[in-house]
Amino acid sequence: MPGDPPGTLPRTRPRTGPRTGPGRAAGAAPRHGGAGSAPRRRGNGLFVLACLLPALVLFALFMVVPTVNVFRMSFYTWSGFSPDMRFVGLDNFTALLDDAQFVRAFQNTVALLVVVTVVTMGMGLFLAAIMTRQRLRGRTLYRFVLYVPSVLSVVVIAAIFSAVFDQENGLINGTLRALSLDGLRQVWLGDQDLVLWSVAIAMVWQSLGYYMVLYMSGMASIPEDVYEASALDGASPGRQFFAITLPLIWQNLRTTLTFFVMSAVNLSFVLVRAMTGGGPDGSSEVLLSYMYKQAYTNSSYGYGMAIGVVIFAFSFLVSLLVSRATRREPLQF
């Protein structure tokens, strides 16, 4: 960063008040054109620097450096604590291909991405359409209730679902027992075939209200006369939804697709870690939880960071592909 970047406050009149602080000497000679005809002011450089520096230092220290480290360390083997650090090139990445647990975590993440996206998006759109198009009585209350999970912490959600899925006295199994339907009881979080579905249910439960509100805000901006005109032409509400609502909130939908990718990677991790710990036997492990396990618990720091790089590339690529595939000419109202 330049020592004292000269700056100008655009369109500020030259006569300014008394300068505060040590803004005198430095930055006195601006070498660099500012905003067009705006007059330059002395001492702006130091003011700009003083304002920027704390934020940039924090940002660099706790975001840029760790991010660079993730990429750098993926080429090393390092336990994270010992001084013994060895450059291994791409070995960490090639090892990933033979790592059955990694492949499983990858599959689980993709499965969650697909299932949670489809279900949440479908239900969110349905709810949003009903809430905006129908004057449902008490819809402010519904919106309030549906958004509650978005303000709860992941630990609370994990705890709620641990209670709901509890093998003996949980809400589901307890209810089934009370109804004498013991045959339907399941070990929701302990069954290798079921646990991922249980995680998916918790994820949908958590994010449904959030997406509903996002879609509602998109739909609210569609003018009413479009619907009235089409109703006069005899379009059914279902037809209206597909022919009017969906195309007109398309950009909104695309944005949420990116969010879905991010949450499939990140929310699944924090939820899985608090709810199942990746178990039983790795059957609910997702990419980030596996990275965490390798880097932190297993002390294979370099290997863990290689997983991190793969996740990063994966989510970036998927977001890019989805964004490309869904590109449409923006429609006008």
């Binding site: 330049p2 970047p5 000269p6 700056g7 655009p10 369109r11 500020t12 006569r15 660099h32 905003a35 702006n44 003011f47 304002c51 920027l52 704390p54 934020a55 940039l56 924090l58 940002f59 706790f62 975001m63 840029v64 993730v70 360390m73 994270g80 129908q134 004057r135 449902l136 209350l141 209730v145 958004y147 509650v148 303000v151 709860l152 912490s153 630990v155 609370v156 994990a158 705890a159 709620i160 679902f161 209670a163 003996e168 006295n169 809400l171 307890g174 009370a178 439960w205 209200g209 959030y210 619907y227 109703a231 006069l232 059914s236 509400p237 944005t255 924090v270 870690r273 965490y292 960071m305």
Partner: protein, 293 residues
Amino acid sequence: MTTIRSAARPRTGRALTSVLVIAIALAIAVPVAWVLLASLKQKGEFYGSPWVLPEGLHLQNYVDAFVTARMGRYFLTSVLVTVLGLVFVVAVSVPAAYVVARYEFRGRGLVEIALLAGLFVNVNYIVVPIFLMLVGWDRALVDVFPGGFFIDNPAVLSLVYAATSIPFTIYLLTAYFRSIPVDFEEAAALDGASRFQIMTRVMLPMARPALTTVLLFNFLAYWNDYIIALTLLPGEGKTLQVGLLNLMTAQKAAADYGRLYAGMVIVIVPVLIFYALIQRRLIEGMASGGVKG
């Protein structure tokens, strides 16, 4: 608004959709309400039907959670860390956002791009590098602080919170500062206000809506985080979320549901009250800013 549509629509379809919406809302509300009620049950009551109301107000669960499980103490840690984090992030982000929005300086494009890229760096990727970096600093300073300084320090945790939300905070504030006409600043400058005064006395009050949004979302992010807190505060001084996580683990071993449910309520209720008070603002802020929580 919907007169034409509702006339055209069969009544049954309308009733059906209403029932569906109500069913979904119940599916969201029931588990939360169930936990709130169950926190008042005695040990024996957990083994019956989950739909039975508690026989009395068994507040011993709360005493257990607050005192024995130390949730009271963790609560204070959480308050401290959250408040400090908010102070830090506002103190560093407001000036930076203002300068980025209003001043021309060399490297501004670079700063903006770096911060924009920062929006896409999720904390989950970088927790471990941050932890190891802090451990390294502690080692380097072992002569000065034999007990360690950076790990297990709530203030350092708040600093990390603040740092990780800088991109989002500056992004939102910059956009808002840019939407304010410069006339106010010019007038203030004519009246002899200094640059610093213009920023704090003129622009900051005008940016209050954006500042509120930022505070709300950062509050939720700091208060609800557990991954960073779990990693950076491994010792006794835990935050509420990590304390609850410990209660969950303990419950799995000892089947002590009452204490866990009471602990959950302690964590849920403040956020629910907060949410009930500011829900309109929160939802509107989210819808306009497109913020991923």
